[in-house]
Subunit: 348 residues, 2 copies
């Protein structure tokens, strides 16, 4: 089979590799239909990171068809069309039962994260609860719907997680920081949860436009103190919730700056703001939460139905489509911000 | 009039001082009936702190009778019996309207905090919304009820705040860290909000007993890893919420240790854990909030009624009573842990 390989920073290749095989009773082998490139894949591609040269790709979002199942699998069968999440919740621990399968108590850290999904076949471990069945087959859906279904493997639930841990409620004034795929999905989530005003911080006209079509009520291009002042002017005061979808020092300061005291932050970008201590939100009485999204829970409870009913259209974040053979271009265009998110067609 | 003076670390005195006068349209002069000593008053008394020698006392909790009101005051009149909170919410800003008057957007920092309440008369600023009227007069109430009413100036709302920002819900498993007055009130709050199990971390038998009478279902004397293991054994897994009522490094680590992934922390002790960065809860998907309690909101919405109806008895935290003249003994006994919280009788 063919698989994408991280050759080195700035270069993805495609190679022949052995098709994966079942290794545990709760493994599943999946024929990938669509995969994609995540912002986090670009950490190594653009910056080198610590990732070893000539190593497996870090792709972790896919739609696929079940090919083969381990003996302990009772929930899916060969031929099923599924969303393949970046996580592997067990569905039974305290964390999963309280709706936090992104940080399952039984499958911690790397055992709960996927990789290698930019390939023709993948082995998905801890597979019995985490996969989400889609009715019918890929050919039953338009390409637009396929794109939206693919966002349910990561970015749409991740945007939803930001809004959910920030406890976005009907009538809330919400600010979204980050205009990438996750930020766009956070706008959709805030609207689903009933926010009355949604302000996106964005300097790119195409991304501003996309967010306005998804439910944003205003966009602010300014950053720092100027951006905070602009948001407060638009909202007539502080925001109730800020959805921090970047993970940088500037982003968290922006989030803290736009809130009224007693406001709430949901953060879903891996935090890179180590200079601010945990208790430093005391004087503002901020409630802050964040972590890996509860993909399986949200998809099963609300997001899959919202997509299938046509109520949300997160698939618009895939502004370009590539064949697996062109994976390097898919990475490069996303790194160059030519596309918001790159979809990979692996099989029809 | 008589007022307590912070003479130096380890010594409180009582002196004659001028009776305070109205200085702003929204000032109120209050004749103090009961005051008390707060754990935060002991920072200077026990450790020296930065507090100037021979300076005003830092007392900030009282019950009193309105003596005189400024021209802008419409909500209370001379003769009214009131709870005098440690905060001065405006009742109109985004923070106050969302129930976070402890960090009012209009009265930030020191302008929102009280001091000097260990005295016969006090001037209470920004008084129009923040004071809470109690029906009748002090003589209408038993001494036990007076004690519970006095807790509504700070510690009971503070314990409630921990539970509220930790979003304690019916059926939750809750761990309370800190067995002082605020920890005891957090136990009461967790029970009010429907927690099914409440574990208090405490090494003192009298405080364990008090918490068990207030609704704690278990106590754990062990600390650190051993304490965490014991809590998890009792709960049959991780806790849904931890109420951190201490503010130390050890306390926040204990809180993080007892939670399942996706758990929630409410902290109400001024945080002294600067070594842990804000984003460090990502891998555990923790939601954490804390700050000054919403005294006026909670008292008006729920706590005053709960006390008057006899549904809660937070007054039991006052294990000793002193005359204002004996203020030094009141501080010393609390510093020596001979009493959980010291009440000061200022007038009958």
């Amino acid at each position: 089979m063919k698989t994408a390989i991280f050759e080195k920073a700035g270069l993805m290749t495609v190679e022949e590799a052995d098709k994966p095989t079942l290794q545990a009773d709760d493994d599943v082998i999946i024929k990938v239909v669509r995969a994609c490139v995540c912002g986090s894949d670009l950490w190594s591609y653009s910056h080198g990171d610590d990732k070893a040269a000539h190593s497996d790709n870090s792709g972790h979002e896919a739609l696929g068809i079940i090919e083969e199942v381990g003996s302990a699998i009772t929930t899916v069968k060969p031929g099923d069309f599924v969303i393949v999440p970046f996580t592997h919740g067990c569905g039974e621990c305290d964390a999963c039962r309280s709706g936090f399968d992104g940080t399952c108590d039984n499958h911690q850290g790397f055992t709960n994260w996927s990789s290698g999904f930019q390939a023709e076949y993948i082995r998905f471990h801890y597979a019995n609860w985490a996969l989400i069945k889609i009715p019918g087959q890929p050919s039953d859906y338009s390409e637009g719907m396929i794109k939206s279904l693919l966002t349910l493997a990561d970015v749409m639930p991740t945007g939803y997680h930001a809004a959910r841990v920030a406890d976005v409620k009907r009538g809330d004034k919400v600010v979204v920081i980050g205009d990438g795929a996750v930020g766009q999905c956070a706008v959709i989530a805030a609207k689903m949860l009933g926010a009355s005003q949604i302000v996106l911080m964005s300097r790119h006209e195409d991304r501003q436009q996309m967010a306005l079509e998804s439910g944003a009520t205003a966009v602010v291009a300014e950053r720092g103190e100027e951006g905070i002042a602009k948001v407060r002017e638009i909202l007539g005061g502080g925001a109730d919730a800020a959805l921090e979808c970047v993970g940088s020092e500037g982003a968290i300061e922006q989030a803290l700056g736009v809130l009224h005291n007693g406001g709430r932050i949901g953060f879903v970008g891996l935090p890179h703001y180590n200079s601010r201590p945990l208790g430093s939100t005391f004087a503002q009485n901020i409630i802050i939460g964040g972590g890996s999204a509860s993909v399986t829970t949200y998809d099963k409870q609300i997001l899959l139905k919202a997509v299938l009913d046509g109520n949300i259209n997160p698939g618009r974040v895939f502004t370009d489509t590539y064949q697996l053979a062109d994976v390097n271009q898919a990475y490069q265009d996303m790194a160059d911000r030519k596309t918001i998110k790159s979809m990979l067609v692996v099989a029809e």
